[in-house]
């Protein structure tokens, strides 16, 4: 356990600083040559949706189908509690 924690701390010491503009995730192009989408979101979120909170724009607009999937997951979980926990009533009758 201590060894594992030591390995994790050693690995975390090599992470880049937060907010450093020279980080790889803030570059226009990734190492493999594809464009980084986060750059577009940061630049155009306010222009596209007039919303200062960038996270809301990404969650509700750019990635809205993912959010819809999350909502359906929660809805399915609720329906499963309905099916599983209500079943004992029918058995006792």
């Amino acid at each position: 356990m201590v060894l594992f924690a030591g390995i994790m701390i050693y690995a975390a010491s090599d992470l880049p600083y937060r907010g450093d503009p020279d980080n790889l995730m803030h570059a226009e192009e990734s190492i493999t040559g594809t464009t980084v989408m986060g750059n577009y979101f940061i630049k155009n979120a306010y222009r596209d949706a007039r919303t200062p909170n960038m996270v809301t724009v990404v969650l509700g607009d750019y990635r809205s189908i993912d959010t819809f999937g999350e909502q359906v997951v929660i809805y399915t979980a609720g329906l499963i509690t309905l099916l599983v926990l209500r079943r004992s009533r029918r058995r006792s009758e």
């Binding site: 007039r50 200062p52 809301t56 609720g78 509690t81 926990l85």
Partner: protein
């Protein structure tokens, strides 16, 4: 719940706290454009305010707030608000969930996206609130029959 333990102090505390938690939940949903928050968090807060009354006051008192059969339709309405927003945008000629195509007159594309995000956040909040209350109701009711 079978063995009801009535305590006026707990009930009074819950009655004092519950409306403020509910107002804060609506604030988190509708202020999600400007501050951290959104549908999921606000819905969880609304459910917390309802569950506080349910835990403290029992099912008799909770029937006055949201009845047990009403939670499943509310969850369906929440999901349908989200899906219908996307479907209307698709019917009006855009992509699925492309809010710029929503048929609200007199608004530019960016303000339409603003409104679309608000509509789906309300849908998410409604669904999350109804489902958390539904889970609690099912657990309490399943305990009675088990």
């Amino acid at each position: 719940m079978r063995d009801q333990f009535q305590s006026p102090i707990v009930l009074l505390g819950a009655r004092l706290l519950s409306p403020y938690i509910m107002v804060f939940g609506w604030y988190v949903i509708f202020h999600g454009h400007y501050s951290p928050g959104g549908g999921f968090q606000g819905g969880a807060l609304l459910a917390a305010s309802l569950l506080l009354i349910r835990v403290a006051g029992g099912s008799k008192l909770a029937e006055l707030q949201i009845q047990e059969f009403a939670t499943t339709p509310l969850a369906v309405i929440g999901v349908v608000i989200y899906f219908a927003t996307g479907l209307v945008a698709m019917i009006m000629g855009g992509y699925f969930l492309d809010y710029a195509q929503l048929p609200i007159p007199g608004m530019e594309a960016d303000w339409l996206r603003y409104t679309g995000i608000l509509i789906i956040e309300v849908g998410i909040g409604l669904a999350v609130m109804a489902i958390l209350v539904m889970i609690y109701d099912n657990m309490a009711r399943g305990e009675d029959y088990g």
